[in-house]
């Protein structure tokens, strides 16, 4: 069992690195075991005795960078996967958190679970044990063992992952992994855009009718950094009313996507945290696709890149002069 030995070695390496840095930081934020073997939960390691609680496996779905904004000013360590590291870079680029306050433990990641997919594949309410193998996930359930194909239960973002290795780190734990794909094909957007405009509108109308306006998407977003003055809660200006109408819910989703233009790193936390399973990541992916096309830019990849909406060119390459076309 080479895989298991590698996992054990990696955890030993992570614990050693965290132990090494503990004197320099207030705490280290990592993953611990949640209420059952399929769930992980954030854990703050404050001393040697907490080290044993650290875990890392495909159940570590959360993006811990979401905590950074609320904890800014503290000197802390953070455990990140490849995708999470992009959120960290974006926050650093926007000068929202300070690099010198942050010790980053980077873990190359070969994909995390999509619990919605697991739930569809098996009844996991009383899962006893989970084992991750090369291409399979073994669940020990009260009714016996269930084997799922790993590809079937990985999150969509992992199937098209281009950054499995953290792009920013102080300690790299374990060996680097190859990317799943070189380019994002945006096949989901292509398929969605084959629908007519009216069908797309009806699709969202239907999805918004399920939205319970809990704002989990906002709260889980690592880049929603004006939560305390969020326009959704503001009365002056009064962008959104508190009426529970489709229109208000929809305008909030559009606003979230517009405010993430050029910033979203597609960590997928909005969609993952949605209790109603509304595919809101689609909106942000569309924005990123157009950003890539017009400005050849990707958020959260480089610390010193200039965000395209913060600058301009006198003559734009990809933007045609409007108003002469019709």
């Amino acid at each position: 069992m080479d895989g298991e030995k590698a996992a054990v070695d990696r955890m030993a390496e992570l614990r050693a690195a965290v132990a090494l840095e503990l004197p320099n930081v207030d705490f280290v934020l990592g993953y611990g075991r949640g209420f059952d073997p399929l769930h992980a939960t954030p854990v703050a390691v404050r001393g040697e005795k907490d080290l044993a609680r650290l875990i890392f496996d495909p159940t570590c779905v959360q993006n811990l960078a979401t905590c950074l904004y609320g904890l800014r000013g503290k000197r802390m360590g953070l455990v990140v996967k490849g995708c999470d590291s992009r959120s960290v870079i974006q926050l650093l680029q926007e000068k929202i958190v300070e690099r010198e306050n942050l010790v980053i433990f980077g873990l190359p990641c070969d994909g995390v679970l999509d619990m919605a997919k697991v739930r569809v594949a098996a009844d996991i309410t009383r899962v006893r044990e989970v084992r991750f193998e090369e291409n399979q996930v073994r669940l020990l359930l009260p009714g016996g063992e269930t084997v799922l194909s790993r590809r079937d239960v990985l999150a969509d973002k992992c199937l098209r992952c281009r950054y499995p290795n953290p792009l920013i780190h102080d300690h790299m734990i374990g060996a680097e992994l190859p990317a799943q794909s070189a380019e994002d094909t945006y096949a989901d957007i292509e398929a969605f855009e084959k629908l007519s405009t009216q069908e797309r509108f009806d699709f969202w109308k239907r999805q918004m009718s399920r939205c319970i306006r809990c704002y989990a998407c906002r709260n889980a977003c690592p880049l929603c950094v004006c939560k305390h003055v969020c326009l959704a809660d503001s009365r002056e200006p009064h962008w959104l009313s508190s009426e529970a109408t489709l229109q208000e819910k929809w305008l909030f989703q559009v606003m979230h996507a517009l405010h993430l233009a050029g910033r979203c790193t597609e960590c997928g936390e909005c969609q993952r945290s949605c209790p109603m399973g509304i595919p809101i990541l689609l909106l942000k992916r569309k924005m990123n696709r157009e950003l890539k096309d017009i400005f050849n830019y990707e958020a959260g990849v480089s610390l010193d890149a200039v965000p395209p909406l913060h600058t301009f060119l006198m003559e734009e390459d990809k933007i045609k002069d409007r108003g002469l076309l019709w």
Binding site: A116, V120, K205, R210, T245, Q247, W250, M255
Partner: protein, 192 residues
């Protein structure tokens, strides 16, 4: 011009220095123009937050027109150059939310171009009339909708595997105000 008997709601965001002057020039020259446009004067096209456009379109406007100074001619030197990037992103974003991107346009009109302004407004208005009224996200029959969501679709994303499978607004539980208006006779939605 078809369907010109009925006014649509078109919102125009005009920059104070060029386009508002251009629209004024068109008025002073007594050009005849469509009456669908409601103009909001802003200090600069760079002031136009894409959210203005989104809010207008989702709250009942059938079209939105943003107009500013020509590039290189901005009163504040570079406001319209930032606006150009933002508005182009917005224009390309609109299809995914089910809004026809032709309902939104941004143009450059200077203070002396009264006749160009007239042409632009007339063409844009004609285009909106061709597209018809903007579909509304009117509230659906509320309790039924909530039940529909809770019972059938709380797992994964069933709609993604078969997009539009039963997304028809005529689907029983999803009877909307639009449908009801539709039953009561044509044009009920727009008899506002």
């Amino acid at each position: 011009m078809q369907d010109m008997g009925r006014d649509y709601r078109i919102i125009g965001f005009l920059c104070n220095w060029c386009s508002y002057g251009g629209a004024d020039a068109a008025g002073v020259a007594r050009f005849s123009q469509p009456t669908d446009l409601r103009i909001i004067r802003v200090p600069c096209s760079g002031r136009v937050d894409p959210m203005f456009v989104a809010k207008a379109l989702l709250s009942g406007a059938d079209g939105v027109l943003v107009s500013g100074c020509h590039p290189r001619d901005c009163h504040y030197t570079e406001g319209n150059l930032y606006a150009r990037r933002r508005l182009e992103m917005l224009r390309r974003f609109l299809p995914i939310i089910g809004v026809d991107e032709r309902r939104f346009e941004y143009i450059w009109v200077s203070a002396s171009e009264g006749s160009r302004w007239r042409d632009m407004v007339t063409k844009f208005t004609e285009k909106i009339h061709e597209l018809g009224p903007m579909p509304r996200m009117a509230e659906a029959a509320r309790t039924l909708c909530v039940l529909d969501g809770m019972l059938g679709h709380s797992l994964a994303q069933p709609d993604m595997s078969q997009p539009g499978a039963d997304a028809s607004p005529k689907n029983g539980a999803m009877l909307t105000l639009d449908d009801i208006a539709g039953l009561n006779g044509k044009g009920g939605v727009n008899g506002r």
